[in-house]
Point group: C3
Chain length 121, copies 3
């Protein structure tokens, strides 16, 4: 069975898929000065792109771990979050407070997802 | 291969199973005023229920990530923990300090488990 | 399908493999007084040993979650990190700040890896 690495560089691969399951981590890439809603929106847009690259979509997200820097932002995060998943397709979720590598980052999310069929072997 | 979501709502699914592997996250549900031992006991009771829902049991836990709010509670956590797993069935474990969404929560645990056979397809 | 547990004790198993995928967590075992580079080197040496135990190697690491106690150490961590992975074999990576169980630990890493063929059943 093949390990599929999308955009590997010396430090990380943007996505890794093995045995039909993909993993990727997102922080806001385009505008780190955005507020929490803006950062969550960027993360989900980036996730959509990542999912498409492995023939998947937002109905096939298995689990997300949310690292949030300030729980005062959780309600606003949830507002964007609750709109994102198709009906009956929300993932398992863990949510903890953690400081992140860039002080402007307000949230980082690790996604575990079901990839498309061609990534199963 | 099917994605199995147990009790999906708009924000999360209690358990997600794919490719025979289940994921769920637990915090003390019934009494958040309990001390660390009480919260760990609640988490393991809830985990037993979750495991049963996917035809599994506490001999089939693959990995747990422990988020604990205060390492002074770690010895007490370990006392309950060490009694929980059947002989030779302890999981891989990570344990880090993190603040949690409800200030009463003392610990949150993410479980990765082997589901029962009927969840393999 | 069998659950493979390497060195199980009552608290954890050093490695757990299921469905061809292994999980293990490493902190510096031999010298916790080492600086960040020394601790990262120890972690990768330990990972090499763990990988060998499941017929794998450092070209088959799928994902790593890094828990670092101080982001001032991140550049030094990356120096060792960038040398470790074979070309085009870097994993998906998450990196958050967290305090660890032993105050001397500067970093803890959770590895998800592809095990060797004999661990697939």
């Amino acid at each position: 069975m093949k390990i599929h690495r999308i955009n590997p560089n010396k430090r990380w691969s943007d996505i890794v898929v093995y045995n039909g399951i993909g993993t990727f981590t997102e922080v806001a890439d385009s505008d780190t000065s955005a507020d929490i809603k803006g950062q969550v929106q960027q993360i989900f847009e980036q996730a959509n792109t990542s999912l498409e690259l492995i023939d998947s979509d937002n109905s096939r997200i298995l689990a997300i771990t949310i690292y949030i820097t300030d729980f005062n932002n959780l309600d606003a995060l949830n507002e964007v979050w609750d709109e994102y998943f198709p009906k009956n397709c929300a993932p398992s979720r863990a949510c903890v407070k953690a400081q992140l590598a860039d002080p402007e980052y307000l949230v980082e999310m690790t996604f575990t997802v079901a990839a498309g069929d061609k990534f199963k072997s």
